[in-house]
Each structure stands twice: as C-alpha cells, then as structure tokens.
C-alpha cells in the first residue's frame, strides 16, 4: 500500500509539473508574434536607446527587457512613425546597431550581439546587410534527396532541418554567415553564404564514421565527441551472420568483449565478459538495457541440470530477434558506465531496436534457409582399438577378463562398431528464418512493424517435435508534435519460443561409450546390460522449454523551454519461462519398473521501470553545456514454481500435471527494488576540450538495513587536438583525440535476501508439516566497488581513411562480494560476504578501421580489433586461511588452473611421473601455494592472452563480400582432462585416438600412461596433471557473407525497390592445434556440444 502511494505521489507531482509548465510554453509563440504586429505611433528625436525604448513601450503597451549593455548604450535613436508595425520600427531603429531583439511572451528582449557588432563595423564601410533567406536542396553522395539533415547557423543556436525531399530553408537576420550541415554517417560541411542564395549541398560519406551516433547511458553522442569508451556494432554486421542469439553476432567484433557460446544447441547460454572477470564468485554479467529497459542478464538455469554444466542453461537474450536490432553499444570505461552506478561494474550493453523513418512506406521481406554441423570433434576409438586397450588394461592389471568384469571382451561382438559421438552430435541442424517489415512515416509520425519466424533443429538425434521455434513481433511508433516540442516513441516487442531437445546432460558420458556395446538384443529390442545406461533409450528423455517475452517501452520527450527537455522512460518487461523435463518409462531399464516422471518448472520475471529525466543545454562562453538529472525507480518481481511428478500410468500424459502423483513442489517469489538519482554534466568547449562528470546514488533491496545506499561517479575528459589551430591544416592527420576517465561503479549482482536467515517448509514428517533452516545470514555485506581508469587515443589519417583507436584500462575491484564458501561444519556451505580482496583487470585494446579502396565501382574496407587483457589478484589478506587458499594465488589471474606437473611416462612401467613439489614422497591434490602443502602447480590460466577479429569488406557494383576472422591466443583443458577421461581402459569406458600413444612395453617412450582396469592411478594422475591443459589457441573464419544487390533499373521493372540475394557462413573454418572438441569451449572441464558451422542462403525483397 505504501509503495503504491509512493508511486502515485511521484507520478502526480511529475504530471502536474509537466502540465503546468507545458501550457505556458505552448502559448508563447502566438503571443510573441502578436506583440510584434502591434501598431505603434511615436515621434522620437535624438534620444538614447533606453529612453527611446521607454517611449515605444508607453506607446505600444509592450514591455522591454534588457541588460546593462543596453541600459548604458550611447546609441542615439530618431524615429517618426504613424501606425507602423512594431517589428518594422524595431528593425529600423536597430538596423545599424550591435543590438538584436526577440519577442518572448508579452515582452521583447533586447540583446547585445558581438557578432552583429563586428558585421556592423564592417558595414559602416559598406552598406548594411539585410536579413537573408537561404533556400536549397541537400542530397546524398548519389544525388538522392537526404531528409533530416541538421543545418545550424554557426555561432548561433539556430537550427533547421531538411524535409522529406531534401529541401531546406534558413532565415537569418545577418548576412555573411556560415551554415553547418551535419548528418549521421556523413561528413559535417561548413558553407559560408552571403545574401539570398539558392544552394545545392551534396553530403559526403564519412569514411571513418566519426560522426556515427553512439548510444550512451541516458543519451547519445558521436564517436568523435565521446569522452568514454564505447564500441558500436550496427545492424548490417548483425544481419550478415546466421545466428539465433544477438550475442553470438558480437563474438570477436568488439575489443574488450569476450563472448563464449555455451554449447552448439539452440537456446544455449552465453558467457559474456567485458574487460575480464572482476568478481571472484558472483555475477560477472554485463548489464543489458534494451530500449531503456533493463533486461535479465543471468542465464536461465534449467531445472534438473547440474550447475557445473551451466553452458547448457539458456540465455535470455535468445528471445531477442537479431533482425530487430538497429545497434548494439558496448559501454566499457567508467565515463560510460558510472551513470549506471551499482550495476555498471561489469560493463553495459545497450541494445537499440529499429525504428521507422520518414518517407515512402516500405515493405521488406527477408527469407533465409540453412544447415549446420558441429565445428569440431575428436576421434573416438573404434572397436578394434578399444578392445586392444581393454586387453592391455587387463594385462597391465594382471587379471583375466571374464563374463562378470569384461562382457565387452568376452560376451559382446568384436565386430559391432558403433560411433556414439557421430550418432549423438554428428547430425545436421537445419534453420529457416523469415522476416517481414513494414515501415514508413511522415514528418510527424513514423512507424515500423515486423514479424519474424525462426525455426531451427539441433545436431542431436531427432526426437518427436524436436527443435527450436521462435516467433517475434516488433512494433515501433514515433510521433513529433507540429511545433516539435513533444516527441513520443513507443516500442513493443513480443517473442514466443519453444525449444525441445533430448536431455542434454548425457554428452560427456555418452561419447565414451564402448563401441561394441550391444544396444539391441537378438530380438531387436533395446538391450540393458547391468551397470550401463542404454543411451538410445535414455535419449527419449527430453527437455522442453517455452519462453514468452514481452518488452514495452515508452519514451517521452517534451521541450519545456529553449534548451530544457523533460524526458521520461516507462518500461515493462515480462519473461515467462515454462519448462518440462520428461523421462518416459521407456527410457529406463524395464527391470527396475520405473514409471514415467516429469519435472515442471515455471518462471515469471517482471520488471517495471520509471525514469523521469531533465536535460538542459545551454551555451556558456565558447562552449556547450549539457546537463542531465534523472531518477530510476525499478522493481523486479520473480515468481517460480517447480513440480516433480512421478508414477505416470502412461507415457502419453507425461506433459500433464494431472496424471502422475506429485512428489515434490517448491515455489519462490523474489522482490527486487531499486531506486536511484543520477546526474551528468558535459561541457564541450568549441569541439576541442570536453569534460564530462557523472554521479549516481543507488539504493538496492539486495542489501540489509543501513547498507542499501551507495554513491558512484566518474569524470572523463577528451581533447580533440586535431581541432587546434596548429593541426587544423595538417594533411596527414585528419583527426586526433585523447581521452581519459576515472570513476567508480558497483556490483549488486548477488542473490536477494542474503542478509536474512531463513527456514523453509520441507517434506512432511509423518503428519506434521516441517520447517528446516535453508539460509544462514550475513548482515554485514555491502557493495562491491570497481574503480575504473582509462586512457585512450583516437587518430584519423588521410581524411579519416585510416582510423585508429587505442585504449589502456585498469579496473580494480575491491570489497569483493562473493557467495563465500563456508566449511559445512557451520551447517551451511556458503553465504554472501565481502572479501577484502582486490582484483585488477588491465589491458590494451586496439581498433583499426581503414578504407583501402574507395571508388564508384569498388570499395574495400578493413576493420581490426585486438585486446590484450591481464587479470591479476592483487591482494587477498588472509588468503592462506580462507576457503580460497587452493583456488587463488596473489599476483596471478583468478582463472588459474592448478594441476600436477607431468614429467612424462615412466618408460620402465608405464606409470605417470609427477613432480613431487613438496618432496614428501607422495602426490597430494592440493595447491603448492599458500602453504597448502600440496603438489599442484599453476598449469596456466583459461584467460585469453590476447584475442580479436579482422573484418574485410569488399563491394563491387552490386556485390558485397565480408570475411570475418576471429583469433584467440589461449590455453585450456584438453581431452586428457575433460571429464570423464580418467576411465581410459577402466570400467567399460572407451576413449579417444589421442590416447592411443600409450605405454605398452618396457622401454616405450610415450606421452600417455598405461591403462589399467581398476585403481587406475596412472590415468587419474595423468588427468590431474598439466598434460591435460595446454594450447587452445585458434584462428577461425567466423563469418563469410556474400550478397548481390540487383541493379535498381532492373528491379524497378519488376515492381520492387530492392532485391538482394545472399549466402552466409558462420564458423566456416577453424585452424587450431587444440586436442579436443571446439577450442572456444576449452575453458570447460566438461565436454560440451560444440558450436555449429552454419551455412545459409537468403533472399531480401523491398517494395
């Protein structure tokens, strides 16, 4: 109740505020105009200006307002008029003076204008310049009309824009002015004009895209003027990639952004990190904002899936249609992220969806179809190889194979040869995507609506109804009032998807199935051998996920006074997730008599957002000051249910709650509230010096009483030294900017209610309902604070044909907020706590864009990015006695991997030789650091040493070819350590040909120890050694996209506007020496379904 009132209070205040101020302003222009039309009769003889104005005021009843310069003016006025309009009188008396006038409400403001004075001085020699009217037309580089170009009169704040047909008209009081023409993506032009003139302006494309708009927190700027570090990926880059999840399209494209696809299955989770891992255990996801509304960033955990397989959880971004995205802006440094305060710690990803544009109504259809297979696998043993290994294992263990311990050698056919890996992930996935878009609008109102259907199958063995389907609907309407004071933009997108796959947990076990396992018995029925799972049967267990996602946002902008805008974002996001994990009875060994069972999961996450803001722009001295003040009120409600239902009488009803018996149910409801105030000031002095400061005070319900609020802020500066006089005429250097920033951001990416201790209901005891403790409290934790420092330089050469960005950053995260692992003697395994540790991420980022060839026929552009990150645990007081003593080492990255040091295979007996670090004669699986007394050394880190991408884009007539290479230099887990590799030779498990170089006879100098059938210490130690960790670097042809745009003359005859055919390939070729599946997943200790190599062909028609 309190909260509702609170909301109402706010809304009412703001509404009243808008209405009262708005009415006054609306009335103004009419009144002002009326004042100037009043008829005046005066006779002024040689009066000073103030005295003359007083007489006119008396005569006309109009109030004059002016400052000290006017009051002290020595200008002498003579005027004798009868019944003349006030405008004409004023024009006449101020004609040769340095004064201008402006009607405002019922009064007239007289102002001193230094520019006018200069021209007046000149005009004392020549005749006075009359007010001028300049007309003209603006075209793009091809001569087509360009609407929406901004035209400003240099030195004033007067701005005009071109209409739908490219025409413009500028009225100015003065002659000899310079007009500035600017438009996104085009070079800004300055054209001096004198007198009435008819102009035709041809805008020139800007090679370097320096004037490209960059969306930043609560505003927009350009690459040129940005003081912060923001990378932008535009729709054309996203569209050229046959991906389902927009995050996939960013892989390798942005310096400082590392994205790893969880698995190659549709709907897979994504690991996303901007500038490295700053948190020890808690959330490292960036903040996602879609059209101003925060979007859940954590992967949606699948019920029943072990958290260690988090790659198989779903990414919520999967419900966002890549085709609906206009641009993705990645905010990296403090200057860009501090305005998001407590949630900007891990960087921010801003997604802007497409909007309608002024002009003819356009209907666009885009259809494509494709197929894909997994990128890379490893070679499993065939039956002959496998049986050899098993025989050798028995020999090495000094035992004889028998029916009980070796059915594979004794009972099963040596001729059967089944490739489980091929059966499971060797299939071809198919994909279809169709989008239809209708857009258009006039001067005032624009709209865009689109619908997309996406269908995708997986590489797993097909089951009934298998695959991924998604439908998206997107609607945007924009409206600007006639007087251009009010602008409203409303966006709604809705998506519904369904994903049905065989239960994905099996892979890591399945791929090591022995190749001669008798799947079917003599009668052709599924065969169940004691101790083994029949995966053909188990594959009938499936996981069905349905998501509905509704995102609605309304942004309103109202110009209150000159320079002052009121803005408001209202947003609502609703994600509904329904999941069924079904295990039909036929998936189990019938001898156990297990009936079918299902898990039902339901999650509903709703986010409400209200963000009132004021922006104010004014000119102070030679510079422009932008001010922003705003507030965020956000509430997120999450509801979840989980039901476990078993004993289904028939598998046919397994997706219904009704036909089984309820075994277990649980529900959760989480209320997250968030409130903040923020402000930003940007001062741009003559496009040379830019200073930017921001502040935010945040309160979050994730913290306990007294710990809820935190302050964050940043300061950023840029120096555009290429605009200095001494470099202005430099022919080589066309652009130069130095920028730097420092600030703090926070992280509240922890679970809710951690500051309370809880009891929860559990299963009944007898007839009594029960309560058991479920959480132990820590009331003392607070914000984790990330201090970010950045220095960067941007250089443009040869009219910006070569653009270089380089940035050095250093982020230090302290007061680390973690789910602190407790010894279980406390009763619990963990709670949320701050750790007095400092984690540093430091790095260099480079982005180079070049226009190698540009002619009418042929264009070749290249863009390269490179990131060299370094993660270091700087300090950790008390590490030695903490629960992290075996995980972390001060001075090393967080993601270090500790293992035995492998010294090779003992040629004498085939056992693994390990370096005994502590010389105690045995091997201990503990760190040799921090006084742990173990034998583990640092084998390396899963952090990349460097990574990046290179795109080459060629355009020849209607053809466009894009080739994108992605490269990563890194280490990772290989086949020798990825679970369950240690079973080689043991327990009926198969292995990989990579193991075949194992020890067989005394004297063998090999790299793999001997297999044994039990107590397989050599293999276990081998798996736990650094032989299982090594180079996983790769160079990948990530994307090849070829398209052909039919000549417009031809397609117009066919009644179309555009016709485009395209071929796209994703993950086309991977070059690596990695021993394992896909090197992108080398950071996982488990085998995962690799990403897909996808090829699609498509057709786009625009009417």
């Amino acid at each position: 109740m309190d909260k509702a009132l609170y909301f109402m209070k706010w809304t009412t205040i703001l509404f009243a505020f808008i209405v009262t101020t708005a009415f006054g302003v609306w009335a103004e222009p009419v009144k002002g105009q009326n004042v100037l039309l009043r008829k005046v009769t005066v006779n002024i003889k040689a009066q000073l200006l103030p005295k003359a104005l007083e007489e006119i005021s008396v005569a006309s009843g109009v109030k004059f307002t002016y400052g000290g310069t006017v009051a002290n003016s020595k200008l002498t006025i003579n005027a004798d008029v009868k019944g003349k309009e006030l405008k004409a009188v004023l024009d006449n008396i101020l004609k040769n003076s340095p004064y201008t006038y402006e009607a405002f409400n019922d009064e007239i403001i007289i102002r001193y204008d230094s520019e006018k004075e200069k021209s007046e001085k000149k005009s004392s020699v020549s005749p006075a310049s009359p007010a001028v009217d300049i007309h003209g037309k603006i075209t793009d580089e091809k001569g087509l009309p360009l609407p929406g170009v901004t035209i400003t009169v240099k030195g004033t704040q007067m701005a005009f824009s071109s209409d739908a047909n490219g025409f413009f008209s500028v009225q100015t009081l003065r002659d000899n002015v310079t007009l500035v023409f600017s438009y996104i993506g085009y070079k800004t032009q300055e054209i001096p004009v004198s007198g009435h003139q008819e102009l035709t302006v041809k805008m020139v494309l800007d090679y370097g895209k320096l004037d490209q708009v960059q969306v930043i927190g609560y505003g927009a700027t350009t690459r040129k003027l940005n003081t912060g570090d923001v990378s932008t990926v535009k729709a054309n880059v996203i569209e050229s990639q046959p991906v389902t999840n927009p995050l996939q399209a960013l892989e390798g494209r942005v310096a400082g952004l590392q994205i790893i696809q969880g698995t190659g299955l549709p709907g897979s989770g994504m690991q996303v990190e901007i500038r490295g891992r700053s948190s020890l255990l808690s959330n490292n996801y960036p903040l996602y904002i879609i059209d101003g509304v925060p979007f859940p960033s954590a992967n949606l955990e699948r019920i029943g899936t072990p958290s260690s397989l988090s790659g198989q959880s779903g990414s919520p971004m999967n419900s966002i249609n890549p085709d609906d995205i206009e641009s993705i802006d990645v905010l990296k440094d403090a200057d860009a992220t501090a305005i998001y305060g407590s949630r900007g710690s891990n960087g921010v990803i801003l997604i802007t969806t497409k909007k309608g544009s002024t002009g003819k109504t356009v209907f666009d259809v885009n259809v494509n179809n494709g197929f894909g297979t997994v990128t890379r696998t490893a070679q499993p043993l065939n039956t002959a190889q496998y049986l050899q290994v098993r025989n050798d294992a028995f020999k090495n263990s000094g035992q004889t194979p028998g029916a009980d311990n070796a059915p594979d050698l004794v009972s099963w056919s040596p001729n059967a040869d089944f490739d489980w890996q091929k059966w499971y992930i060797g299939n071809t996935a198919h994909q279809t995507n169709a989008t239809a878009t209708l857009s258009g609008g006039d001067k005032q109102t624009t709209f865009l609506m689109s619908g997309t259907f996406h269908n995708e199958s997986s590489v797993l063995p097909q089951i009934s109804g298998e695959g991924y389907e998604r439908g998206n609907f997107h609607l945007n309407v924009g409206h600007t009032s006639l007087n251009k004071k009010l602008h409203v933009d409303a966006t709604v997108f809705f998506s519904a998807d369904k994903n049905k796959l065989p239960m994905p947990t099996a892979l890591m076990y399945l791929v090591e199935m022995n190749p001669n396992y008798p799947v079917y018995d003599a009668n052709g029925n599924l065969n169940w051998v004691n101790n083994k799972t029949n995966y053909i049967a188990a594959n009938q267990q499936y996981d069905k996920v349905e998501n509905n996602n509704l995102n609605a946002s309304l942004s309103l902008k109202y110009n209150l006074f000159k320079g002052l805008d009121f803005k408001s974002n209202v947003g609502y996001n609703r994600i509904e997730n329904n999941q069924i994990d079904a295990s039909p009875s036929t998936s189990y060994d019938p001898s156990y008599g297990i009936l079918g069972n299902s898990e039902f999961g339901k999650q509903l996450v709703q986010t409400f957002l209200f963000e009132p803001q004021l922006t104010y722009t004014t000119v102070i001295g030679n510079g422009k000051l932008d001010l922003l003040a705003g507030s965020t009120i956000e509430q997120q409600l999450s509801d979840g249910y989980l039901f476990l239902v078993d004993s289904y009488s028939s598998d046919a009803y397994i997706e219904s709650l009704n036909f089984g018996s309820m075994d277990y149910r649980t529900a959760s409801r989480i209320d997250y509230k968030y409130i903040s105030v923020f402000g930003r000031a940007t001062y741009n002095w003559d496009d040379k010096y830019i200073l930017n400061g921001s502040f935010r005070r945040d309160g979050s319900s994730r913290f306990g009483p007294g710990k809820q609020f935190g302050n964050f802020g940043s300061i950023g500066a840029a120096w555009l030294f290429s605009n200095e006089a001494f470099l202005k005429d430099c022919r080589v250097l066309s652009f130069g900017k130095l920028h730097g920033s420092y600030g703090t951001t926070g992280n509240d990416g922890i679970g809710d209610y951690g500051y309370l201790s809880f009891y929860d209901t559990s299963t009944n005891y007898g007839n009594t309902s029960t309560l058991i403790p479920t959480q132990i409290a820590n009331k003392n934790y607070q914000w984790e604070v990330n201090k970010k420092l950045e220095l960067g330089i941007s250089l443009g050469f040869l009219k910006n044909r070569i653009l270089l960005n380089a940035a050095w950053y250093r982020n230090r995260s302290g007061n680390e907020l973690v789910s602190y692992a407790l010894p279980s003697i406390t009763g619990f395994t963990g709670y949320i706590a701050n750790l007095p540790a400092v984690v540093q991420n430091r790095g260099l980022e480079f982005e180079v864009n070049t226009t190698n060839v540009q002619s009418n026929q042929f264009t070749w552009t290249t863009s390269i990015n490179l990131t060299i990150p370094k993660n270091t645990l700087l300090s950790f007081p008390g590490l030695q006695s903490s629960g992290y003593a075996n995980s972390y080492v001060v001075g090393q990255p967080l993601n270090i991997v500790q293992k035995y040091h492998f010294l090779g295979v003992n040629p004498a007996d085939g056992t693994t030789m390990i370096q005994d670090i502590n010389n105690d004669g045995k091997y201990t699986q503990l760190s040799s650091y921090n006084g742990q007394g173990g034998d583990y050394v640092i084998a390396g880190t899963t952090d990349p040493k460097w990574y990046g991408g290179m795109n080459n884009s060629f355009r020849y007539k209607g053809f466009q070819l894009d080739i994108f290479l992605q490269y990563t230099r890194q280490d990772g887990y290989n086949l020798y350590s990825q679970i369950p590799a240690a079973t080689f030779g043991n327990d009926l498990y198969s292995g990989w040909t990579a193991y075949l170089n194992y020890w067989k006879n005394p004297g063998d100098k090999v790299t793999v120890p001997k297999p044994e059938i039990s107590n397989n210490m050599s293999q276990t130690e081998f798996q736990n050694s650094d032989a299982g960790f090594g180079d996983a670097s790769f160079l990948r042809v990530k994307n090849v996209s070829l398209s052909y745009m039919f000549p417009s003359g031809i397609v117009q005859k066919w009644g179309m506007k555009n016709l485009r055919l395209y071929l796209q390939g994703q993950n086309v070729l991977t070059l690596t020496k990695y021993k394992g599946y896909d090197p992108e997943q080398a950071g996982s200790t488990y085998l995962l379904v690799p990403p897909l190599k996808m090829f699609t062909a498509g057709l786009q028609i625009t009417f």
Binding site: T65, A71, T763, T770, P773, P823
Partner: protein, 466 residues
C-alpha cells in the same frame, strides 16, 4: 513601463533563467527522503525468517519435526546402507558403483556420500532450536521444555554418529558462523561428555510416553533419550551406567520384544523405541537398494550368513534369496517392500539392543548368568531357538556370544556391526580376513570431506587420507 533588469551576464536570457530554476527544482525532487523506504522489502512470502520460527508452539513444532525429517531424508542411506557395506554385513552388486568406496573401504576425502555435511546441517538446526527456544518468545512453557528436550536428543544423536564415523570432530554448539567456520577438532571424549549432558537434559525435559505424538513412536520421549544414553555409556565402557539406563528402558513397561522376527520395521511395533516415520504416501528409498528385484543389489556377505545358528527364524525371515545367472543371492529383507504407503518405518532404537547392552554390561562385570539370560531371551523371542545356551565359562566366550547375537539381530541397522567391530577392537582381524585386498587400519575412520579441510584451516585430516 520599462523595467530595468540587472543581469550579470549577457548570455543568460529569460529562458535560461526559468530553465535553470526548473532544473534545480527537479533535482531537489529527486533527492526525496522517501527513497529509503522504497528499497525496503515489505515481507518475504515464500520463506520464514529464522527469527520468527521459535515464536509460537505451531512453528516450533514444525521446526522440530524438520530435524527428524532431515535425519530421515539424509541419514537413512548412510546409516542403513553405507555402513552396512563398510562392515561385513553386505556387499555391493548393484549398478551403483558409487557404493563401492564403502564396500571396499577405499573412501576418498572428496566422496560425495560422506554424511558429514548433513549431520552438521542437523547440528545447526538443533543449535538454532536450542537458541530460539532458550530465548523463550511466544511459546508456551510446557512446549518449550519439550522441544528443547527433543532438540538436545537430536543433537546428541547427530554427534554420536559424527564421533563414531570421523573420530575427533569439531564440537559446534552455536549458530554463530564466526565461531563455527574456524572450529578445530574436539577430542572425542569431550564430544561424548556433551552427548551425555544433552541426553540427560533430554531425559529431564521429555515425557515418559508417546502421548505427545498421538502414540506414534516417531519422536523422542524420556525412554528414547535413555536408550541412546545406555548405548553411549556402553561405547564409553561405563558398564555400570550402561546397565542402569538399559534397565530403565526395559523396565519402563512401554516396550516388549516381538514374538518372532516378523514386523520388526512395522510402524509403532511393541519393540520400537524410536522410528523415523513416513508421511502418507512415502516409500522407503533405502529399501529399494536392499530388495533384489531383477538383478542383485546389496547381497549378504558369508560372514553374516554363517553367523546364524541352524533353525534361527531370523535367517529365514530377515534374509531372502533369489537365483540369478545360475547362482543364489541372499539379501536383507527386514524391509519387505519398496512401494509407497508402506507401514514400515526406519528403526533408530529398539528394545532388543537394550537387552544386548545390558548383557554386555553384565558380561564385562563378569555376571555371565544374567548376560546369557538376556541373550537366550532374544534367541527365543526373535529366532525361535528354544534350546538355551549354557552359561559361558569366561568373559571372552560370553562376549563372543553377545557379538554374535548383535550381528544376527541388528544387521544392516543403525551402523551396529561397523561400530561394534570398532569399539571391541575386532575390526582389523575381521576386515583383513573379509577384504584382504583393500582393508587398511586407517579405514576404520572415514575421511573428513576435503572441502571442509580446504575451507577451515584449523581442521586436520584423519590419517590415511592426506
């Protein structure tokens, strides 16, 4: 009239002035004191705050029932299966290879089936109950005393298993993390002192019948605490007190030995002192591992099968057999069903053990006549063995008879066989013979979970697991 305005700078016009004023006003509005209120959560609706639990009789009752539920859910497999595998009761033939480390006594410190964390979770719940009830807010005095007694009994039971499985264990008596997170191992004797103190408190606080549970023998009363106390004294070799407490239970008049072995796990049977009850449709999931359905699961070892005297009804009732692949497999059949809605409940304490405790206490005090009388009573009642054994000539013979009787009567229950072998010093001899390939003396104590060794710097590992 013309008004003169003295403006300080020429560039700020009327608009700017007004705009700036609005901007300032808005900014002030933003810094509203109501912010603080907004981020406070009204209430948590899907969980109960710990501070609200022990504030009424009803929630206290649910929380105490929760402790038994934790035992029932998390300890039935460790107590009934894992420890029977570790001893010479049964061997693993089931598909679950994860039983093997127990079966072969080759546990590693990272074994997920160590009951350590589950027991300390119960210790936390009991400590939380004792703290909450001691504060005495909102509960009636009689209920408060009773629940306090139950909490202490359960804490004693948890520590009894901890100290017997792991040796010296940290004695945590608080919910305060800053104390418990860095606890070191307390000598076993000190842990036993606490167990005895808790059980004596429970004896004093609890009632002497089952009226509190409406007749169900599923929660502690005075005799439940007494029966465990008898066992604890026996393990402490305090023969006098062991006999005293066992006598008290036997003479309470509430319990009697069953006639014949049938129904030993039946709910509320005459012999049962404490059972973990089932809710209406619950099944006993441990039972599923014992009962040989289509393939052999947990099979009786020859040591157990050969321990029965000829004609002992217990061998034919509590052990069943089935042929598979040409061989006959014998499996424990104290649980007779795996189906839901079963009337069989887990037995935690029962009367036969009290007779055997008294017999042992008498034997150790050289009263062989009374000792053998109790043994003969159980042989007669449970085994249908009418021929009484003669009074043994010496203590060793008498003890052998008692140990044999414990083996055949208590097998696969309550970790009896495993603990008996350990406390009588017979374990090395028996296990070396039974599992020559893998047995080591250090296997008698289980490893402390590696996770806790890593997280608590003061916690040291048991020998043989470093």
């Amino acid at each position: 009239m013309i008004e003169k305005m003295e403006l300080k700078t020429k560039t700020i016009n009327r608009c700017g002035c007004k705009a700036a004023a609005v901007f300032m006003l808005f900014s002030l509005l933003l810094i509203s004191p109501a912010c603080k209120k907004f981020v406070e959560i009204d209430s948590v609706t899907d969980k109960l705050l710990a501070s609200q639990v022990y504030t009424s009789d009803a929630t206290s009752n649910s929380a105490i029932a929760g402790i038994y539920r934790q035992f029932k859910t998390n300890l039935q497999d460790p107590i009934f299966i894992y420890n029977s595998l570790a001893s010479d009761d049964i061997v693993n033939y089931s598909p679950s290879v994860t039983f093997d480390p127990y079966s072969t006594n080759t546990l590693l410190s990272n074994d997920p089936r160590l009951a350590w964390a589950n027991l300390y979770n119960i210790v936390y719940a009991t400590n939380s109950a004792i703290e909450g009830l001691s504060a005495g807010k909102g509960t009636s005095e009689s209920a408060r005393q009773y629940y306090l007694g139950e909490a202490k009994f359960n804490r004693a039971l948890a520590y009894f298993y901890l100290v017997n499985w792991f040796g010296d264990v940290p004695l945590v008596l608080t919910t305060d993390v800053s104390v418990s997170a860095t606890a070191s191992r307390t000598p076993a004797a000190q842990v036993y002192t606490q167990i005895i103190a808790d059980l004596k408190d429970a004896q004093a606080a609890l009632g002497d019948d089952y009226s509190y549970t409406g007749g169900d023998r599923s929660r502690a009363n005075k005799w439940v605490a007494t029966a465990l106390l008898a066992r604890v004294y026996l393990y402490q070799k305090d023969w006098v007190n062991a006999k005293l407490q066992a006598d008290a239970v036997i003479n309470s008049g509430l319990y009697s030995l069953l006639d014949g072995p049938t129904g030993i796990f039946e709910q509320n049977n005459a012999e049962a002192i404490l059972q973990w009850s089932n809710y209406s449709s619950e099944s006993n999931f441990s039972a599923g591992n014992f009962i040989f359905n289509t393939t052999p699961n947990l099979i009786c070892r020859d040591n157990l099968l050969n321990a029965f005297e000829p004609g002992d009804l217990r061998k034919t009732t509590w052990i069943a057999s089935k042929a598979y692949n040409g061989a006959t497999y014998y499996y424990p059949y104290k649980f007779t069903t795996t189906s839901p809605n079963t009337t069989e409940w887990f037995v935690v304490l029962r009367l036969a053990e009290q007779y055997l405790i008294r017999a042992e206490a008498n034997a150790m005090q050289n009263d062989f006549t009374d000792a053998v009388a109790d043994i003969n009573l159980i042989r007669l009642k449970h085994g249908g063995l009418t021929t009484a054994l003669p009074v043994p000539a010496d203590q060793k013979t008498c003890m052998d008879l008692i140990m044999n009787q414990r083996q055949v009567d208590l097998f696969t229950e309550g970790c009896h066989r495993w603990f008996d072998l350990k406390r009588t010093g017979r374990i090395d001899a028996v296990m070396t013979a039974e599992k020559p390939a893998t047995w080591q003396s250090s296997s008698a104590l289980y490893p402390i979970p590696l996770g806790d060794i890593l997280k608590d710097p003061n916690l040291k590992q048991n020998p043989g697991y470093q």
